[in-house]
């Protein structure tokens, strides 16, 4: 008789489904039956019979499994809760640590998701690109492009679906209708195709025509309410600044999404601007955004750009310079090309961010995520350490369970259940924490984050999943460690001997925790060092007691009168009018020295200052003199800085002449160098000092008025200035800042990084010390007898404290040694962002180590003292 075997798959399934005891016999029976059927009725019948058997048994099998595991988990749960309640101190330490760690990471996750979600609300977000230009050997990237480019691209490249040009209203301006006027900051120009590119919902108006004609304007809903209340603004007129022709309102759009990288309250039709009709390819004035057609590849489009530029810009270049564009390009320093930047990269990118009102910082995002992960890890380590430290207590339980038939897998499940319960209860506390901290966090990150578990379908399952994962990570080591005991040696008490490796792991984990904490702490010190350094570095100019009045153009002709009125007051020491201010934006302009060929023109940063400028800001002259009111030829005089002298290679700078117009080469029109000022840090300290030229702004009515006032009586002086302003301008809004604050604002990102480091290093150390506290109390409890014997033999309290804290001290010191190089390289890299940077002082490492040690010792010394003071009689009776 031939033996027909059922297929292996069915056999495998049956053996899996069946209960263990009778498996072989049952399999044997089935095989015999199968074989018999096979002989009598053929293979198909036999197979059908077997598979039917399998399928029919499934439902009850599953039911059986579930009810059995529910019973098991109910038991795990009960034991876990009992353990938590029994060891309240350890549970508290774990839950506090966990919940702080979780709150940190959830908050940071919120922040990061928010940062990453910028501009994603646009329906075509994944197909929108910003076109920019890049120049020169180092491929310097800007986000601006020439006026005719958008249209030319639409004509030339079939893969582009839409293109839009946009630009910003250059400065704050007053917008008014017949009865209201406000200072407005967020006005943008845009082509009417903006609606095809970005998702900007129009509430009233027709997207095809709303921005077509010159002098049309769209308002956002809240602006419409601000100016018109409940009235319908459509078709009404608004005036911007001092322009004579008003704008007609042709539409109302929804308020700007706060997660858009450009912010607007008003959108003015780009056709209003003369420049938008320009066919010049040399001016980089507009932001251009394109929508690529589905399935077209941006990198392939980029390959076509050089040809495109040559086709359009080439002829203009030839005409203007008498030189073939190809020839010009041969020199690497004349490199010029376009580049595409994906819309969703713009917010966090560091290049070409000229339009952003809310700028992200990718570095900040990285630092935050790393720190969050580490803090969570420190909390997990606490759990691991404390649970393994308690191993002797639990080892008897493990032994009993094993004797009674628990498998190792069941024990692992039990311990993991315990840690998951801890992490779930921490999650609840963390959620409460988050809701309490969120307003502060929002204020600090300048965001409007909302934390609502029910907000969307992802948050709740995500949180639960996150908590489970955290619980499992934290529980994994103790679970595997504790479940590995052999029941015989545990019940005999022999497990104590093999605890050596466990102690080593625990020490390593403690060192790891403190290493992380110390790295973050050193980071904090260095960030603050740099901030102090930047505050105290010699800027080369006076920064105190200067009030800046903004938009002083509004004074117009009355500026002189304003100045005189102020100078008449005792409290005002000087008044100067300038186009820009140190720390603000300066234009780099091409300058030609007289007698040098055009090809050698050099870029100098241009500052405009009047006669009082140097005195008010206390600029020091190293050669020559500053502009004087009494010398009329000073109208055409300039002052340059020392860097510029060196940059231009001048040996006798005084009397040298520049062509007056930027980049132009007109004979007979010169400005003369009359003085050289010492270098000042006129830009932020991220930058090296650049070659600078000061042009005389005496006859220009400039944007800012700097007023130097006497210390004290600041409030009175300010209100006096405001009175004079109102008197002379009518109802122009009065805006002022203190120069000092303006300068400090340059370093806001660094201040933010600084406070983040402070908060998180405090948290990291706090959680790590919580763990230490748990460990030391446990340690003291374990060594009760030893301490008792030592005391009876005459040990002093101090000796005992030493005994208990020695280990921790060594561990913290090891951590400091490991942490120092990491922290050094991390912070060294960070400092490379600054042209002017502090050095990392070795004392920082020493003091951080000592500080951490001090905190750790304070944490443990109380427990150690308590243990050392205990009455030896009592402790010897212990157990």
């Amino acid at each position: 008789m031939r033996n027909n075997k059922p297929s292996y798959i069915s056999e495998f399934i049956i053996s899996y489904l069946g209960n263990k005891q009778d498996k072989t016999a049952i399999l044997g029976d089935l095989e015999e039956e199968y074989n018999d059927l096979f002989q009598r009725r053929g293979s198909i019948r036999a197979k059908l019979w077997l598979w039917k058997l399998i399928l029919v048994s499934f439902p009850s099998f599953i039911k059986d499994r579930i009810s059995r595991s529910v019973i098991m988990y109910k038991n795990y749960l009960k034991i876990a809760l009992r353990n938590l309640v029994k060891h309240k101190g350890y549970s508290a330490i774990n839950i506090i640590g966990f919940s702080i760690g979780m709150a940190c990471s959830i908050l940071i996750a919120l922040f990061i998701f928010d940062e990453l979600s910028f501009d994603r609300h646009n329906e075509k977000a994944d197909r929108i690109y910003r076109v920019g230009a890049k120049f020169g050997v180092d491929r310097f990237k800007i986000a601006f492009t020439a006026p005719p480019m958008a249209e030319a691209m639409m004509d030339d490249f079939p893969e582009i679906e839409y293109a839009v040009r946009m630009s910003l209203w250059p400065r704050n301006v007053i917008v008014s209708n017949s009865d209201k006027r406000f200072v407005e900051k967020k006005i943008i120009y845009a082509d009417s195709s903006i609606f095809n590119v970005f998702t900007i919902p129009l509430i009233h108006g027709d997207p095809n025509t709303a921005l077509r004609d010159p002098r049309t304007i769209l308002l956002t809903e809240s602006i419409a309410r601000k100016y018109y209340g409940d009235q319908d603004p459509m078709g009404k007129f608004l005036t911007i600044g001092k322009e004579n022709t008003p704008y007609i309102i042709t539409g109302i759009v929804k308020d700007c999404n706060p997660k858009s990288h450009f912010q607007y309250d008003f959108i003015v039709s780009l056709s209003t601007s003369e420049n938008s009709y320009s066919d010049g390819w040399m001016g980089h004035t507009y932001f251009t955004y394109i929508v690529m057609k589905e399935n077209s590849v941006p990198s392939q489009l980029e390959l076509k750009f050089p040809e495109f530029i040559k086709r359009h810009y080439g002829p203009q270049f030839l005409q203007k310079n008498g030189m073939e564009y190809d020839e010009h390009l041969k020199d690497e320093k004349n490199y010029y090309n376009y580049w595409l930047q994906p819309l969703m990269d713009i917010h966090l990118a560091s290049e070409g961010n000229d339009m952003l009102s809310v700028k992200g910082d990718i570095f900040f995002v990285y630092v935050l995520s790393i720190i969050a992960a580490f803090i969570l890890l420190i909390a997990c380590i606490n759990f691991m350490n404390l649970s393994t430290a308690r191993y002797t207590k639990r080892s008897k339980e493990v032994g009993m369970r094993k004797v009674l038939g628990s498998s190792r897998r069941q024990l692992i499940r039990q311990f993991i259940t315990e840690s998951v319960i801890l992490s779930l209860s921490s999650l609840i506390i963390a959620v409460i924490f988050i809701n309490a901290i969120l307003p502060g966090f929002n204020g600090f990150t300048e965001k409007v984050l909302v934390f609502n578990i029910m907000d969307n379908g992802y948050i709740f399952p995500g949180l639960i999943l996150f908590t489970l994962v955290v619980g499992m990570i934290a529980g994994s080591y103790p679970a595997f460690f504790l479940s590995s005991f052999s029941p015989i040696s545990v019940l005999k008490g022999a497990v104590k001997q093999r605890a050596g490796s466990n102690i080593l792991v625990r020490r390593i984990l403690v060192v790891f925790q403190f290493t992380i904490s110390i790295v973050i702490l050193i980071g904090t010190f260095v960030v603050y060092d740099q901030l102090t350094y930047m505050r105290d570095v010699k800027l080369g100019f006076n920064r105190d007691n200067i009030v800046i009045v903004h938009r002083s153009r509004a004074l117009g002709e009355k500026f002189e009168a304003f100045k005189q009125e102020l100078l008449n007051s005792q409290a005002v020491l000087g008044v100067s009018n300038t186009e820009s201010l140190p720390g603000r934006h300066f234009n780099p302009n091409s300058h030609n020295l007289e007698g040098r060929p055009k090809a050698e023109q050099k870029v100098l940063w241009t500052m405009y200052g009047d006669h009082e400028f140097a005195e008010l800001y206390n600029l020091q002259l190293s050669e020559g003199r500053y502009f004087s009111k009494d010398i009329s030829s000073d109208q055409n005089a300039v002052v340059i800085n020392e860097t510029a002298v060196e940059f231009l290679g001048l040996t006798e700078p005084l009397g040298k002449r520049f062509h007056k117009d930027f980049g132009e080469y007109r004979e007979g029109d010169f400005v003369t160098v009359i003085g050289v000022v010492k270098d000042i840090n006129f830009q932020s300290l991220h930058e090296e000092i650049k070659p600078m030229i000061i042009r005389n702004s005496a006859n220009i009515i400039a944007n800012y008025t700097s007023i130097k006032i006497k210390g004290g009586y600041i409030r009175e002086t300010l209100s006096m200035i405001e009175d004079k302003w109102n008197e002379l301008t009518g109802e122009e809004p009065f805006q002022y800042t203190f120069f000092d604050d303006d300068l400090n604002n340059l370093y806001r990102n660094e201040q933010k990084t600084g406070s983040v480091f402070t908060v998180f290093s405090a948290l990291a150390i706090f959680i790590a010390c919580l763990g230490l506290f748990g460990l030391i109390s446990f340690n003291a409890e374990q060594r009760t007898k030893e301490i008792g014997i030592r005391k009876t033999l005459g040990a002093k309290v101090s000796t005992i404290i030493m005994l208990l804290s020695k280990e921790i001290t060594i561990l913290v010191l090891i951590s400091a040694v490991i942490a120092s190089p990491f922290a050094f390289f991390g912070m060294y890299n960070w400092l490379q962002n600054f042209a002017y940077r502090t050095s990392i002082h070795p004392l920082v490492f020493l003091s951080t180590a000592l500080l951490t040690l001090l905190i750790a010792l304070i944490t443990i010394v109380f427990q150690a003292y308590k243990a050392a003071r205990a009455n030896p009689v009592k402790s010897l009776k212990y157990e």
Binding site: D22, T24, A25, G28, D29, E31, D36, V56
Partner: protein, 110 residues
């Protein structure tokens, strides 16, 4: 003591009848042939297990046999308790049926 169910009774009886050759396949085959119904293995094993637990049957594992791919068989043997349970069941039925037989039943409702 709880009475045997009909299925239990049949399987128990089959084991007793089969003597030395009572294991899964033969038991099921015998009952199926006699009653002309198919009993699935699930019913068979759970009934046998229950009988073992109640002490009516004992289970012994045989040495592996070559014709079943080297697998052993679980042989069942009836115990004294099992026998008396069978006897009980038979007596219960006899007492109930009394003088009745199929001829009388066939007249039935007429």
């Amino acid at each position: 003591m709880k009475d045997l169910t009909l299925t239990e009774e049949m399987f128990l009886l089959a084991v007793w009848k089969l003597r030395d050759n009572a294991y899964g396949v033969t038991i099921r085959r015998h009952v199926s042939e006699v009653t002309d119904r198919t009993y699935p293995y699930g019913t068979l094993y759970s009934a046998l297990d229950k009988l073992v637990r109640r002490g009516f049957l004992t289970k012994t594992e045989s040495d592996p046999t070559p014709e079943r791919g080297g697998r052993s068989k679980n042989y069942y043997t009836i115990t004294a308790d099992g026998l008396s349970a069978l006897k009980n069941a038979l007596e219960l039925k006899k007492a109930m049926w009394g003088d009745m037989n199929d001829v009388i039943l066939d007249k039935g409702l007429k």
